[in-house]
């Protein structure tokens, strides 16, 4: 039903003369994809990664740099963006997964900071100021410059990834991951190479985040190192926590809730961060499981 509503949305919005909201909805879906990729790492894999924006940003930079070098085809640039993010995730994951708990949080953060400074120092590609995307990527047969067409491409990718995540969670791989999250020692004793399972999960999450990055740079037409800042990683985490960690649609719900809240509050007051902060505090204290647990509780009641 949500899918039907999502498909119908751009037509309704345009009929009402508010094409602006198509752009907002696209942004929400891209962040939903990024937050869902973090959900795979955190919700299913149980790894609190505080550097997820690194993969998001790496994907975005790949597309922007390729565009500047004259490679504008989405069929080349987007898979490459995923490949670059996957490569980063393998290296970062392989080292970080040696640590546990708070140390894991901090070491993923450290790696994200390294990438952040790496892009700051890329003077040929804008350095600290970032670069404009030369042109939106082009797909054969679809004009991505059209907001509605872009909306549908993003929607299709998001739906595809969510389907993939659902299949993954239901698969043997997903079951092993859950087992590791609950009790790693037991899974090791059962003979599972837990380190490898966690690394694959971490890498998959990084790859999907890279895809989201490729989309966000197309939407904004601009990328700067700010997209890799640690507060960005924090924002992704918060979207997910807000939506519900480990719930398939947690990333979607959280991204929608947070970005819409931002949209509404910023119309209303210049101090929208204050309002957002208060709402977040309320969620932590009163609804610790996020929107997902709220829905579940209401469902149980009704």
């Amino acid at each position: 039903m949500v899918l039907v509503a999502a498909v119908g949305f751009p037509f309704t919005a345009e009929a009402l003369g508010s094409g602006y909201y198509v752009g907002v909805a696209t942004r929400v879906m891209i962040y939903a994809l990024a937050a869902s990729s973090l959900n795979l790492v955190l919700g299913y894999g149980g790894m609190i990664s505080f550097g997820h924006a690194a993969f998001f940003g790496a994907g975005a930079y790949t597309v922007a740099i390729l565009a500047q070098e004259g490679v504008g085809s989405a069929l080349i640039a987007w898979p490459l963006a995923v490949a670059v993010s996957v490569a980063c995730a393998i290296v970062i994951g392989a080292i970080s997964l040696r640590t546990r708990g708070l140390y894991f949080i901090m070491i993923t953060l450290a790696f994200a900071q390294m990438l952040y400074y790496f892009f700051v120092s890329l003077k040929a590609y804008g350095g600290e100021d970032g670069i404009n995307l030369a042109a939106r990527s082009h797909l054969p047969g679809i004009d991505l410059r059209d907001e509605t067409a872009f909306y549908f491409v993003v929607l299709a990718i998001l739906a595809g990834c969510l389907y993939l995540l659902r299949r993954l969670a239901a698969s043997r791989f997903g079951a092993v991951l859950r087992g590791i999250r609950e009790n790693e020692g037991r899974m090791t004793a059962l003979g599972y190479p837990t380190y490898r399972y966690r690394l694959v999960c971490f890498t998959l999450g990084g790859g999907i985040a890279g895809l989201a990055g490729a989309l966000i740079v197309n939407q904004h037409g601009f990328i700067s190192p700010n997209l890799l800042d640690w507060t960005q990683s924090g924002t992704l985490l918060i979207m997910l926590i807000l939506g519900g960690v480990g719930w398939l649609y947690g990333g979607v719900a959280g991204a929608a809730a947070m970005l819409l809240l931002e949209e509404i509050l910023s119309h209303w007051t210049g101090y929208w961060k204050l309002g957002l902060g208060l709402v977040l505090l309320f969620v932590v204290l009163r609804a610790p499981g996020g929107i997902g647990s709220w829905l579940a509780r209401d469902g149980a009641r009704g």
Partner: protein
């Protein structure tokens, strides 16, 4: 390479490291004893700096403003602990991240509301405006030298407090085994509030000291917070000694890396590559250091829990 320049940069590194230590000391205790991720620590630093700047303007004296700002920030920190953060100790790290991240957003906007979006000026006290010669032949800014002195003094006092006093013994007990300390009847509630207040006061001290060197502005806490976290993690969570060693390491690596790495690379790379690579590596050096430490010692240099 110029030995005097190297010495001067080493002093700068020492100065920066000691300020990081002020922040990391409070952070590592909160981390270690309460098992709490406090992202809002940087906000206390910002608030401390703003209070110091405002009070210095109002009273016209840095020396009156400094202790007042420390006391006020400590009060704010203790109120925050008693009113909100206390509820989060039993929760998982994720909830703590969310709640304290929310506090950052709130603090930034509150500061913008009260003080406006422009950066504030905080002048170094006039008595310390000149230079002194620590190293013969190389004048060094007196205020920076003063910061080094204060940092060393605080480190000494903290060491005495933690190692020699009863409160310190309780703190150490809490850091190495919280449940056991609880079971032995330590009044942890009061202890936690006290530790938090102490951490907040140190934040304000660092904010007031660094204010004249860096800008007092919104968001100033975020970048230094991450460096303080790096220090905590390198040193080992919960360990004051680790925080000191980590802070000095980070301060030195960062300062000396920025000053000398580009020139050093030019020695064996072409100028172009060295100019591009030098600043990058210098900026990344601290994080590379941390990743390396964690790779070989996954619980930091001086694990408090053992």
């Amino acid at each position: 390479m110029n030995a005097l320049l190297l010495l001067e940069q080493a002093l700068n590194g020492l100065q920066f490291g000691l300020m990081l230590f002020l922040l990391a000391a409070g952070l590592t205790l909160v981390f270690g004893i309460m098992d709490m991720v406090n992202l809002a620590h940087g906000s206390l630093y910002m608030i401390g700096a703003y209070l110091a700047a405002t009070l210095a303007q109002a009273t016209g004296s840095f020396w009156i403003a400094l202790p007042l700002a420390m006391a006020l920030t400590a009060l704010i920190g203790m109120a925050l602990e008693a009113g909100l953060l206390r509820k989060l100790y039993e929760r998982d790290h994720l909830s703590q991240v969310l709640a304290t991240f929310a506090l950052i957003l709130i603090a930034n906007d509150l500061v913008r509301m009260i003080w406006g979006p422009q950066a504030m000026m905080l002048d170094a006290p006039r008595a310390l405006a000149g230079t002194i010669e620590i190293i013969p032949g190389a004048p060094y800014p007196a205020f920076r030298a003063f910061i080094i002195g204060v940092g060393l003094a605080v480190a000494a006092v903290l060491y005495w407090l933690i190692v020699r006093t009863r409160v310190g013994a309780l703190v150490r007990a809490g850091a190495s085994n919280r449940e056991m300390a609880l079971a032995l009847g330590v009044n942890v509630k009061r202890l936690f509030t006290l530790v938090f207040g102490l951490g907040a006061a140190l934040c304000a001290l660092a904010g007031a000291m660094l204010g004249p060197l860096l800008a007092v502005q919104i968001g100033m806490g975020e970048s230094i917070l991450i460096q303080a976290f790096v220090v905590v993690v390198i040193g080992g969570i919960g360990s004051i000694r680790g925080a000191l060693v980590g802070a000095l390491l980070v301060g030195m690596v960062d300062t000396i890396g920025r000053a000398f790495l580009p020139a050093l690379l030019r020695g064996f790379l072409t100028n172009n590559i060295a100019d591009a690579l030098g600043p990058t590596l210098a900026a990344m050096a601290v994080y590379i250091l941390m990743a390396a430490v964690l790779y070989w010692k996954p619980t930091g240099l001086f694990p408090a829990r053992g």
